[in-house]
Symmetry: D2
Subunit: 345 residues, 4 copies
């Protein structure tokens, strides 16, 4: 941490800052500038992380120079993490596809979707049993019944199951019926839920919050990691910007940025990321090219009858078409050894 | 709901849309435009709220024309709601002040803060016992111990207590020790928590999410209201924008907008709304002028030693100065009958 | 400027950074941290402002610690600037009102608007003769004819004239017919135009860009000031955020922030800032309370017939009502010596 | 256009709305809803585009249902436009690369950059002679001297020249020395400049504004097209969001969205789009996969000595590496007939 003093700061002001640093058992180094002085904090900055230097007399502002997350950082774990989800590896060069309806609506709908997902070549079936909805009057999901259908679909198709957990009290049951628990965007800073999935012995996919910075997202991952669960996968699903043509603004640069900042695998959700099915394929292909470890997308046997998110769901035909090209592209990138991310660079 | 067809939509396409509407028991009215046709849905639109018209063949896009929240809407309750919090009325022309430290740090700190808050003229003492923090390594609050100090401070000073509840399993205990439960910005769409406080018989202050639209915010309030708890107060605390000079962008127009859209009282938080104590007073005064029902702000006996949010906390002297002017202004607005909001207009 | 090295940076890397600094005639000071080293640049940082330290080997990132604008900064001019606009002072405790239609539409419309503006107590008449419009097919203004009507309206009413200049080649003529030239939000970084108005001997009101930071805005003002024109007034008119209920998000905290960062007067535009006439009055009152030096707003003799921006224009009656209360409030703030901004604090 | 009346609107209110529509020579169709009435405007909506229906008594709000741009729309020109730039085709399946320094700094620097650009396989050399800079004290470009060096570089290498024009008075000279004139993000709504390049007989590349919606961007293109210049190319260069890790948020979904909305070619700028050279390659590859017609990027013989934008400039080695993979990928997409955008869908 570096504290920048005001040009008019008094010696007394600087002394005050130094004392706070020293009282925390750290060392303060002062650099005399032409216009203003700078005080650098030497040592474990977490000891002064809550000191409001900016509010102290004579201080212009302070700048944090090291990251607040540790276990999630690339520095702490220079090699890519690979998360094993019931035998399927995510990360480390493997490209996975998760597909299925937004919500589990009925046994029939889910079994049909599972067959289509399987036929197209996905490794995972997605489908929400607990649905976080903006309005209390919208369909909220089939809950445990939905989870059972997901487990049944796995039995039939062999597809791994990824599904959302929305509350602490459901972590146990969701962990029981699924292979990969998803923490949704709206819960990215639901710290109780993060701690609870951190205590579960199950892989977790953490979606980026609607307006979360990379730093906040990696700190949210740190909550899970610091409870002892190191099977964390990130998922970029679009952020909120002023643009309203798309439902969200898919931040694909975040994929590459996360690869530099962290060792965790990262999946892209082009369905929520755009909100329009016509944009799902180009963004799925772009995600492959950008170096993502996989994609998750919404596909519905009959989008026009979907109970939620129909506008962004692919029909089976569009899904098959997308899969053909995404798989071709992923194979090409691998075969030709095209490296989107250069950690040496 | 209005569905706008593409210029090239076929008669078959239009028939498809009409059928979906009729199958839901509603009426479809087609208007022939010069370039394109428009289909209006007549009847209870919630029956087709999940139909993805945008994904249907021949459809350009659809537009929702009525609001999804009902109990929170001004239409459902034309008069301002007034929420009684242990004898203090919020809303209906009364202006309240809530002040205190970001976090309860110790018995001594809280009692000192309570005395200052009282002396300055606040009606409520604020202070967090459960702290949602970006990093798992930051101070997380004193939890139940903190709640007990708050209750003790009420006993000593008579100030009502407002404090945050961050998880379903703490609703009961927070309700026991406080007068007004706060749902924080990060939990605005933690729907389990919203339902749980909706089942409690205790006033709730719902902060606006970091990137929540007015519509999402009022729908979040609807979650609480629809569980039977009508003692809901909103709190504007700044939204996330591209500007980084301030911690958030305080959206004061939201105060007036909410008064038009809803009957619920609304409080402004200029501390989180700006993140800089120097901007708290001008924004507190502006909140009064804009027609807010009160303000909540951070004040600390010694901000430079605060364990969190020190940079935006007022010192006691700045707090007294602010209170003098805020109260003068609130009185002037009332005495002179200056109406910021004109519901007739 | 402070350059933060990576933990793994080599001695060679640090030497490289130091050399660049020394080659520019400046001094480099190295501080050894526990994890990483920090290099501070001592001297006139503008000499290395374009050096891409972030791209140099071993560098993690760099942080600018001093502001790039000088003449616009409070440090360079500790007292508030007061700009004299043909005898009317803006800044320094005086509160001014500018009112009138979005666009000059006809001689009749403008004269009528001028009479209303005058009667309500405004000091300035606003009205656009050159209209920057999103679509090339929208009404683009009456140009010189409009300017002549404005000058005529001044003659009749004595109101000072504020009107927008949108291009270098119109600066001369706009300066001739008006008292205060407005540079609009879309042109805030039209640097040729900024330089041209900087060479004119006429007061300039610089609106904040749609997505401009405070730093960019003050740098835009610096362009005008550095050409020798010190009669610069800022105007906050709302910024672009994700919220769509309002046309823009009025950033009233910017008023107080600008007062700390700069000595320039600042005006608030609640009409563009909200886009809805119902929100204009509460935001006008809030602007007074926040410490603004004035407001500019759209008023039309008959908003329902306006050629542009009718939705945010006040009717004459709403305008009179607003003026009564805004003036009362401004007088109260002055009489009671309520200081929103405390530069000592 | 559809006008939604309030539930409590009177027959008089509806009559008022209908009259305004009929007075403009258009037809009004009223649809009776259960809660509220809707008035649809039939005919050429541009005749009522400036009527502020939202401000009329009894009106809740109005919704535009057709686009305001025409020449730029896909409807007006169903086939992809192909722009010939001195023999190089942009659009229609051809993938082009533009590379070079941010600014022309000296004859030597530019010739060196041109040789590198050529050797790597780019078709265009970029380089700014007129630099729009946030601060008036930053390097502003070599102006005409810079243009001459660009022309000389073309002569030597055969590369086509793309360079920015920042003001009306420079359009002629920039058109003389270059092949493709760029209108930068800060000037996207500098309507005088748009009209001037619209009157030039030279291809124009229009960058998206920092906070421009797709609709505003296409309307800006419409300004150029409507003056008679149909050689318009769009360039996505990142938008401003709350995320600060990257300089901008590259909106790759805009590439696919623009392909649906418009027939104009679209280029991606991963350098400004991310602000970090490490993210340029993954975003360049992603742009290819998303269906862009080309990329423009910053490359400098020695980024650490660049006078501007060094942090986002590629070194020659990184540039060669990127070109190898980008070209491989573009060839693969073409050979395998992978269609990111499906206009039929």
């Amino acid at each position: 941490m570096v504290i920048i003093m005001k040009p008019e700061a008094s010696a007394q002001n600087i002394k005050g800052v130094i004392e706070v640093i020293q009282n925390a058992g750290l060392t303060a180094k002062v650099t005399e500038g032409v216009q203003q002085q700078i005080v650098a904090v030497i040592g474990d900055k977490s000891k002064v992380s809550s000191v409001p230097f900016d509010a102290m007399p004579g201080v212009d502002h302070s700048v944090a120079i090291s990251k607040s997350y540790k276990l999630a950082s690339r520095e702490s774990h220079p090699m890519d993490s690979v998360v094993d989800v019931d035998g399927i590896e995510i990360g480390g060069g493997n490209f996975v596809v998760m597909a299925g309806p937004c919500a589990v609506e009925s046994r029939e709908q889910l079994m049909e979707a599972a067959e289509i997902a399987k036929k197209g070549g996905a490794q995972f079936l997605r489908g929400g049993a607990y649905k976080p909805r903006t309005s209390p009057y919208s369909f909220q999901g089939l809950e445990e019944e939905g989870l059972k259908y997901l487990a049944e679909a796995k039995e039939k198709t062999g597809l791994r199951i990824v599904t959302e957990v929305t509350q602490v009290e459901s972590v146990e049951i969701v962990a029981k019926y699924s292979d990969l628990m998803q923490v949704g965007a709206r819960n990215m800073q639901n710290f109780s839920l993060l701690k609870e999935v951190g205590r579960a012995n199950k892989p977790v996919m953490l979606k980026r919050g609607l307006a979360a910075t990379l730093d906040e997202w990696l700190n949210a991952a740190e909550y899970i990691l610091s409870e002892g669960n190191d099977k964390v996968i990130l998922c970029e699903r679009g952020i909120r910007s002023y643009e309203t043509y798309t439902r969200n603004t898919l931040d694909l640069a975040a994929v590459a940025a996360v690869k530099h900042l962290s060792h965790l695998p990262i999946i892209v959700d082009p369905s929520h990321g755009t909100g329009k099915w016509r944009l799902v394929k180009p963004m799925a292909l772009a995600a492959v090219a950008a170096g993502a470890d996989g994609i998750i997308m919404e596909m519905h046997p009959n989008p026009a009858k979907a109970l939620s998110d129909g506008a962004q769901s692919l029909t089976p035909e569009h899904y098959y078409d997308l899969m053909r090209d995404v798989n071709k592209l992923a194979k090409f990138m691998r075969d030709e050894d095209i490296k989107s991310i250069d950690l040496e660079g």
